[in-house]
């Protein structure tokens, strides 16, 4: 069982395949991906694409309901309308998680409406994935700051600190409401993360779908080559992602 916790329904895919995930799934199938959390892409680039893209991602996921887990986004800059979009995405569209990319979306984690969205996510029982590893809005310690303020909300560092900030991601994950998705740090960092962070709150992801490049094969090779006990690898790939959904529910 391999659950990829970081994929996108990319702008390029939507432009070419118009909501049909067959070719996207064919690549996932090649690598034995059982399920995937499907994040938006257009919706994290333009605020005026947000609602339409949430609809698109939900529809794409609905065409493979046992394989694709829809994830939605919103824009805190849209204030009440942003909060309404979160509610609509979860309650009407069936999104199982939220995804924010504060660097691309251009808002600070100190934004008061983001705070309200974090509170709403706890109420709606959905985890929040954050792009992380990038200053000045997406550092692991900044997300840990949110986790301190919103202790009933479940936060996932969707890149576990990327290339240069994974040590800070380990520190962030000392908080019980912070999870790490191994998607970006190099192999040795993955090994260290698995030694030091709570093995129950580690996920794996490939960032597949942002463009047409197949990133799944590379990141699976890295994960498989990593000196991490097989039992832990199985947990990370197949068990923890289901617990993430259950723990938020």
């Amino acid at each position: 069982m391999i659950i990829d916790c970081h994929t996108h329904w990319g702008i390029a895919w939507q432009e070419r395949d118009r909501g049909d995930p067959a070719r996207w799934m064919a690549i996932a199938d090649q690598h034995g991906i059982t399920k995937a959390f499907l994040y938006p892409h257009a919706g994290i680039v333009r605020s005026d694409s947000c609602a339409v893209d949430n609809d698109t991602v939900a529809a794409v996921a609905a065409s493979a309901p046992d394989r694709l887990i829809p994830v939605a986004t919103a824009w805190p800059q849209m204030k009440e309308q942003g909060l309404e979009e979160v509610r609509r995405a979860v309650e009407v569209l069936g999104a199982r998680a939220l995804k924010f990319h504060p660097w691309l979306q251009g808002f600070s984690l100190a934004d008061p409406y983001l705070g309200r969205i974090c509170g709403l996510a706890a109420e709606l029982r959905v985890p929040i994935f954050f792009h992380d590893g990038t200053p000045c809005y997406c550092l692991p310690e900044q997300i840990a700051g949110l986790a301190r303020r919103f202790q009933a909300t479940c936060f996932v560092l969707a890149h576990a600190g990327l290339v240069w900030n994974w040590r800070s991601a380990i520190e962030a994950a000392r908080r019980s409401n912070v999870w790490l998705c191994l998607c970006g740090p190099p192999q040795r960092a993955l090994e260290v993360i698995c030694q030091r962070a709570d093995p129950d709150r580690i996920l794996w992801g490939s960032d597949f779908g942002f463009g047409f490049a197949d990133s799944i094969g590379y990141w699976l090779s890295v994960f498989r080559a990593a000196r991490i006990p097989d039992t832990m690898k199985e947990k990370i790939l197949g068990v923890n992602p289901l617990h993430l959904l259950q723990s938020a529910l």
């Binding site: 590893g133 990038t134 200053p135 990327l162 290339v163 240069w164 970006g184 190099p186 192999q187 040795r188 960092a189 260290v192 490049a213 197949d214 990133s215 094969g217 590379y218 090779s221 890295v222 080559a225 990593a226």
Partner: protein
Amino acid sequence: MLVTIDCYCAVGNDREYDFSADDLIRALDRAGVNRAVITPVDRYMVVDNCEGNKFILESAQRHPDRLIPSCSINPWFGKRGEQELRRAATEGARLLVLHPFIQGYQANDDLAWPLIEIAAEERLPVYIHTGPPGNASPWQVIDLAEQYPTADFIMGHCGATDFWNDAALAALSCENVYVEPSLARPFKFAAHMQALGPAKGVMGSFAPINDLAVEWTEMRKLLPPGDWSDFYGPNLLRLLAKRGPL
């Protein structure tokens, strides 16, 4: 068969790994790679440069046909660092590694200029770790490369992750800048190479932070050695051989 060289392999004992020259030789054999430039571990780049450079030189001397020694100097050592760079080059170092993030300066800071001048004189290519925001971006490398046109610069990691957008445009703007893929990931780096052409890249794995065989295997899938042979060794050999035959 053209030579294959890995541009960046850290040898030694650091806080989270212990990778000996013999471990590296086995990894090279497994991946079918002829040679590697070996580099000091983080601690030796930040402090104890001389001890680290000597360790690298000795490690390379035990496998002279396979391993090529580099050296690293922290620019904060000033005159002492300049002397150490001259010494290391005289003893056999063939490449200068700078890591602005851990050494504590910005890549284009005038603090490092004396070292670049010496590297240009001694015909040592300069490898700069790029990517950490604020410390080492692709365009900072270009500032240096424009100022020192007789030096060769290797843009380690292509600014990964946050500066990946800049890497190809920056590298295209300066003839004496080459890109290296470790941490930039093959599926992203291949697009850079398509934009830059085969003469502008040098293959590096950053073992043991990355698995050498995984990096080479995955890269060969996307940039087949038949079409990209210069990238896998001859480009780097040409830069290293400016100081003399290897």
